[in-house]
Each structure stands twice: as structure tokens, then as C-alpha cells.
Symmetry: D2
Subunit: 285 residues, 4 copies
């Protein structure tokens, strides 16, 4: 009853739609449940929950699998699927992929005996996701900043995955790029890539038109904000509560745009592609 | 009565606002008329039309000076200023700068004896304006294309000012860039800058996710569109009527976004800065 | 007796060797005369002068065709071929390509009735040649400058074909790049490509580690050299007599390396490829 | 007798010379021993060994401190300084910096009680050194490859410090860059930076003109070399014994240039600057 190399997509949003289409275009059999309002191309077959699972060797759950910890995340369908022993029982024997699986595992002890993998936990998933996130940041900057990003003085705070990617793109379109970091090796790398290096303890110095924060704790504190002589547009990409003290921002008149990383919204096709590539790599291992 | 090195800004839109502020920040006396709804910083003094002109050595008219050929373009004010002999008489003896002055010159014979310059007619103005236009094109692509521009296969049609600038930015954020052009020297330059060259007579070949047209005549004709095996998102940056045959686009299912170059909307501060630099260069000559 | 689409290569240096091999690898019949000391691969047939010409539809002469105005340039052979009526007569009826044909045309009136083209006169030839020349300049800089070019402060004097290409490569390996030019449009382009612009009348200002001159007249005059506060390494790429006043250089202690453009020496394979592509384009027209 | 913030440079090569000059130009007192054949500028005072040490708070030893394990490395002087208890005793109480200190520590037990730091052991030292090494690799490629690096198909094997830096520079001058790596995150990063990714287990596939090996074990084994259909120029930057099986190279006719990383030879000024910056950072901690 199960097709070899067949995939069942259960629920999710635009990323799962793109994912289903992309897997189908690779020639695999794809069934999808939870997309009542969606018109797929020929290669993706809409089915009921049970039918989708039964015909598929590999099951792909959304990112995140669940928002409330109780129901499967399904943005394109009015059904509600409860995550419980019955759901786990249904998926037993399948190879299950999903994003942020922690809450799911807590819904049934059966998960201990199911072959399940979290694609979000993979380093390369995070690396690849920095690209759509950085593009989203750039688009936000272009949209909100009244000058051009080209020729503007930009500071990227943090040199992790996202900071590295944003800095690279900013230089690529002709911005004047500085990057702040804490460690000496990071400061050395920053210069190797052609940016100016700002040691983190000197944050607040320099004159910038645009600041992109990628650091997930409040480094733009009151003392730092007060030290700043410029009034840049500050795009905060860190997850809540973000990297900026909101009172200090208000006090100093710095405009802050919160844009926590949402590659799914900005580029669902890219995000779906990234999930697919991560799953394929996991299957090969 | 006239201040030396003083500037009077008459009418316009966000670009003129940015222009006024930028000139004032250089330390010159600036008066502005036609901005009832605008709050300027301290350096820019709002005045009536006559007063603004009388106190200013240099007068800056908007871009374009007039849309209807009869009235001064004023987007931030309910007044209407008629362009006639009286208006020309008022400006006599001043150094007058404006954008697209042709229609203005036709409103009065007095213009023959006024020292007037068109900043739009300057080559460097057009070169600099390609930057905000290219950024606007990039922003549009990021917004409308469901994948990332990074890693996408892009074709830039035309290697003039705008094509050169877009191609450079696209490569800078990691797109795979091809550029089409007609002449052998342009095709050589395209390869020198690291892009793939597509001779214009082979337009329609190749597979692209995004196409940016900068050529102001319908090169994306029915035969070309039919030859295309891909269904890219086509962003048409050429002035009306644009470079795409709309019926052929509909027939072949290619999605076209019309985005004729509007740096003023996308980046008024940058556009104002460009006008200022052009005027300064003209004054030095 | 003549093969269709056959090529006869007469004399020259490493570029002609590479050219012969490259045309042969495209599948055409190739004969070569003037390469006694060279071992070609199978596709290139060494023959005598007369035989080579008689069997070939297209004849390719070296770059330059002649150094002394009297003999064919042949670096890989001890023969001497006199350029006279007999030589012209031999080539009558052929399609003849060569580099810098002026002196050849003066050797016989028969040239008026021969179908001959100068590949050096083509704009795209010059554009493409800027690439090996720029690489040669970069290699020289890396070899001679005791620091790294990455991170060094570079000035490129002139924004013609060579200046554009060098500046682009310097930025690409992480140098801090300024470019000097005379016209406002060029200065605008310089900023668009992410370099700092230095108006030519301010030459001598600023601090640089490396200067690349591409301007073919002595812009680095005594007054300019005296104004310089830095002592850069100056690489002069202009044709003799070059762009630097040698006495001024000695007086101010600036080290000058003369490296007039010699793509043939640096990258014969690339140079041969460029000649081939230019000839192919001419044949298609 | 000891000046505050004074530096004594003992022995070494061109890097120590550049280092001495650079520290002196920062305004510190600098004495140097072991440079009989060198003319320093005014700020560096040549002294005897004992005098140099006694007057200096900080002592800088060369890189490596010793080649033979017995004598201090001194390339610019005929003296021989034995590394023994007496030498260690002389340096007691000083802050001592040196490169690859292991062999020195074994020359005397006194070193256990001396405040000594190895600048080579610092991550940022290695990061910064990748820049001159990568430039040296580029220069070698430009010198040895008969085509231009621009437009050539390059493979960088390995995505460590050196691989990252070379790939970045190659793309910057317009090469077509692929990078091989083993891990999924590295392969993801490679694509993020705009290169093509080649999984290490597919080494030998693809067509390349130039290959830069940075991996310090023989990944270019006989099976890999036999699988290669192209005959690239292979520049091996790995430390001895390098990453290429020499017999396989000979068998397959691939030309290999051994160029183990020698930033000191290529760019002594840059290398000295890097040592200085590393020492300054260590002193601040």
C-alpha cells in the first residue's frame, strides 16, 4: 500500500505548499493533507489524513509542528488535528520529519519508538535560512530607509549566521559596512571579508545610517544608545524580546523596526526548498 | 536683499524637502515655498513665493517643473502657481535650476534671457539616479518573487546605466546573473564584470527565474516570449509603453510587473541628494 | 585546394600558439608557419609558408604584424619573411586578419585590394584585453608590495577600460579603492561601483599605499608628486612615455614600476583566446 | 632601567623588521638585536642582546623562535644565540612573546616561571594570516596559469580559514568558483557565499582549470586523480606532505605546484603587522 520513496505532507503554510510541489517535481509521489484552499499542480495529490499517511513512506510535518502544543499547525484548512496517542499510532512505522518537534514528543509516549527527525535542529538548515532572512532584512531597509542602502553607513551587530550573511549582501550592493563582534577571531574575520570591525565594547561609537541587530539580548542598552551620536534606523532581527531597550530607543529618538526572522513569510518558496534539501540530506545519512 | 549663496526651493515633492534640508545642513541660507504641510528643521525657512525668490540667489524648481505644462508641480501645498510671463519675470536675474525645463521654457519668451539650467539633462544625474532605481527594482523583486533573489537565475535586458547598476547589485547579493546586449563591446564588458553574456538576438533562450527589462522598446515581443521555455517573473523598468508585449505575456503566462523608474518614490532622500550634488557641480563650472 | 573554414596562422609568439590550438579544438583545419621550435597538438599542422597560405581560407597574422615595418614578426622561428608585393600577392584572395595592420598596408599597394581586417581596432578586443592586463597589474602589485593588497589603500588613476577593470578586481580582493577621473559622469560611476571618487584636479591628495596609473600622459607631474604626503608604490601601466615624471619620482622618493600593458606575456592563453573570439565575431558580421 | 611600554625585538627575519618599525611608529621605545645587516629608521635602536633585554619591558621572539631547537632564529645576523638556562634567566621578569614556543620551553625549566605567550596559538593570528597566504596563492596562480584567473573555473578544496579566504578573493576577481567540503553546514555556507558546492566524496568530478588544495592530507589520491577528466593546474597549499599523491599526479599528467603557506616571504610587512596586532590584543587582555 505504501509507495517507495513517497512523501506525505501534513499541514503547514506556504512553505509546505512549496515543499510539496518541489518534491513532486523531483519525480516522487506526493500526497498532501491540510490544504483545502490550495490548488496544487498535477504531481501533488490531495487526500484525507489517514490516506495520505498510509500511502506514504515519509511524512513531513510543518514548522513548527504545533503552535499550541495540542493541534497540528494547519494554516490552509479548517480541520483540526489533535496531537495525541492516536496521531502518533497513525505515524508509527513511518519516517517522520518535522520542525521543532519538542512539543510533539510530549503529546504521546509512542514517539519514543517512532523514527522521527527535527529538520530545524540541523546546522545547515539554520545556515541556509539566514539567506531569506537577510534578504528580508535588506528589503525592509530598502523600504523604510529614505536614502539608498547603497552608499549608506551600515552597522551589523553580531557575526553569527545572520550577521555574516547580511554583511556580505550589504557590501555586495555597495553599502559601507561595519560589523561588531566580541571575540578577536571574529574581529579578524570581519576585516578579512572587507568590513570594518567594531569591538562590541565600543558599541555606540561611530556614525551609522542603518543598524541591523542580530544579537538576541539587549546590547542596545540605555548607555549604548546614549553614547550614539547618530540617529540611525535600527532594524532588530533578534527573536523577542529583541536586542534593543525600547525605552532607551524612545528617549534617544532612534527609530526601531522589529523584524524577527520570518523567512517563511518573505520567501515561502525558498523556505520550502531549504526544508526539502535538509530532509534529503538527512535521508542520505 | 539677496543673501549670497542662498537657495530658494519652489514646490515639488519629498525630493525637494530632502534637498532643502540637505542644502541647509551644508550651511547655506534656504527658503522654501510650497510646503504648507511640511515641518522643516531649523535651517529651512518657509516663506511666500515672492519672498522666497527675492531673498535667494539660486532658485530650484522641482522635477519635473510642471506636469500639466501650465502650473508649477507642488505636491505638498494647495496653492496653484501659474507658469507665465509674470512667473518668469519674477525669476529674472536669478540662477534657476529645474528638472525637465522644456515645458517651462514654452510658457514665456522671457526664459530666453534667464540663466536657467536643467539638472535632468546632465549625464551624471542619470548615472546617479540609476542607483535608487536599481534598489527599487531589487526591492520589488524581493517582495514579489517567492524565492530568494540570492541563488536565483536573473537576466538583465540592456546594459545601459540602469542595466549596469542592477546587474552589479544582483551579483553582489549572490544571484546568478546574465545580461543581454546588442554590441560586441557591451558583451565583452558583461563578461569582464563576471556576468554571463547573452547576445540580444538570442533573447528568449536560457532559463531564468527573474528578468529585469531596462530597454525602452518592446524587445519582449511575441516571438521572443514564445521562445522562452521558462516562466520568469518579469520586472519591466522601461518607461511607458515598456519593453514587453502585454498580449504575448498574457498568452504565455509570464507575470509582468511594471515599475518604471521612480527613484523619487523609493528613496526621496537619495534623490534629493543627487539633485543637490548635480546642482553644486553645475555651479562650480 | 583550400579547405573551407580553414585557418592559416603565420608567425607571432605564444599568443599565436594558443590561438592555433584553440581554433583547432573548435574543429577547424589549422596550419601554422613560423613555429619551428614549437610542438603543437595533433589538430595543428606545421607547414611551409606557401603551403599554409594555399590550404587556408583565413589567414591570421600576429600582433603586431611587424615590429620593424619590413619583416613579419616571428618569435619562434629563425626564418625571416619580408613584407613586400610578393607577400601581398601570396595572400590575395584570402580573408586576412592581423593586429596593427598600418605598417603592413604601407609595404605594398596590393593591400588595397585584399580583404583584410585589424582585430586590434575592435573595441571589444580592447575591452577583453583589459582583463589580462589588470591581472598582470595585480600580480605585479602582490609581488612588489611588501604588505597585502587586501586592506591596502589603492588609487587607480583613470577610469577607462583598464582603470575600470583594475578597480573592480582590487575591490574584489578587499582593497580600499579610490579612483580618479576628470568628468562628472565618470565620478558618478566610480561611486556607483562602490569606490571613492577623486576628481582629477585633486590628484596628489589623500594617503595611498599603491597607485595604479592608466592615464597615458604625465599626470603625475612634479607639482602633483610634491603634493603627495604618502610614498606609495606607483605601478605605471600607461604606454611609453608613461604617466609619471621620472625626475619628480626620484626627487620625492616614490618608487615607480613601469609595466606597460603586456597581456601577451602574462597570459598568452587568455590573449590568444581573445584574438580568436574577436576574429570569430568579425567573421559573423 | 626598563622603559615603560618598551619593546625588545630579538632575531628573526623580514617580519621582525617590519614589526619593529611598526611598533616604533606607534610611539613606543623599540630596541632590536640580531639585525646587523639592516638599516632601521630612527625609531628603532639597534643594541646588543643584553642591553636590548634590560631596557625592554616586553620581549618579542621570532616566528618560529627556533628552527633547530638549540639556537634563536636569526636570519639577518651572523651571531648565534644559544637557547639555554642563561638565555631564560636573562628574560626572567619580562613579558615574552614568540611564535611556536614549544621547543623553547624544552630548553630550560626556568620557562615555567616566565610570563610567556605564543602568538601563533591565537585563533585570530591564524585567521589574519590566511589573507597574505591567499594572496600568495593568487599570485602563484596568476604567474603560472597561462590563462587569466578571471573567467577560469576554480576549485578550492577545503573550507577552513585558508579555503574561505581564497574562495572569497577568487570570486572577487571574477573566477567561477566551486568549493569542496565534507559537512552539510559547510556546503550550505559555500552556497550562501555564492560559490558552487562540491561534496568531498565527489572530488574528482567537474571540470576545472585551477585547483587550490588547502586540506592537509592526501585527498587528491590516485582514485580521485584518475576520476578527473580535466588536467588543471593544482596549487597545493597544505603543509608537507601536502594533499596530493605525487605519483598519481605524475601518472595523470596533472601539474602540481607546492606552495605551503609562507606569508612571511610573500608579504613580510603584512605578516609583521599581524604579529603586532596579535601581541597588542594579548597585552590588553
Amino acid at each position: 500500500m505504501t509507495d517507495n520513496n513517497s512523501f506525505g505532507i501534513l499541514g503547514g503554510d506556504g512553505r509546505q505548499i512549496a515543499l510539496a510541489e518541489s518534491i513532486a517535481s523531483d519525480g516522487y509521489a506526493v500526497r498532501a493533507y491540510g490544504f483545502d484552499s490550495v490548488s496544487f499542480s498535477e504531481g501533488v495529490r490531495k487526500s484525507g489524513l489517514r490516506e495520505t499517511v498510509e500511502h506514504s513512506e515519509n511524512i513531513i510535518l510543518p514548522l513548527p509542528v504545533t503552535s499550541d502544543g495540542t493541534h497540528l499547525k494547519m494554516d490552509c484548512c479548517d480541520d483540526r488535528v489533535v496531537l495525541d496517542d492516536a496521531f502518533a499510532e497513525l505515524l508509527r512505522g513511518k519516517l517522520v520529519f518535522g520542525g521543532r518537534m519538542g512539543k510533539l514528543y510530549r503529546t504521546s509516549e509512542l514517539w519514543d519508538s517512532i523514527d522521527a527527525c527535527d529538520y530545524c535542529a540541523r546546522e545547515e538548515f539554520a545556515v541556509r535560512n539566514a539567506v531569506p532572512t537577510a534578504e528580508g532584512a535588506l528589503e525592509t531597509a530598502m523600504h523604510e530607509y529614505p536614502g539608498t542602502v547603497h552608499g549608506s553607513r551600515c552597522l551589523v551587530a553580531g557575526f553569527g549566521r545572520l550577521g555574516k550573511t547580511i554583511a556580505w549582501m550589504l557590501r555586495g550592493i555597495g553599502a559601507d559596512v561595519a560589523v561588531s563582534a566580541r571575540t578577536q577571531p571574529d574581529l579578524a574575520w570581519i576585516e578579512s571579508f572587507g568590513y570594518r570591525a567594531l569591538p562590541a565594547d565600543r558599541l555606540g561609537e561611530g556614525t551609522f545610517d542603518l543598524v541591523f541587530n542580530t544579537v538576541p539580548y539587549p546590547i542596545f542598552s540605555r548607555p549604548v544608545m546614549r553614547r550614539m551620536k547618530c540617529r540611525p534606523l535600527l532594524i532588530d532581527l533578534a527573536s523577542p524580546p529583541g536586542g534593543v531597550d525600547p525605552e532607551a530607543a524612545e528617549e534617544t529618538g532612534v527609530r526601531v523596526i522589529r523584524a524577527p526572522s520570518l523567512p517563511g513569510k518573505v520567501a515561502p518558496k525558498a523556505a520550502g526548498e531549504i526544508i526539502k534539501r535538509t530532509i534529503y540530506a538527512m535521508m542520505e545519512e
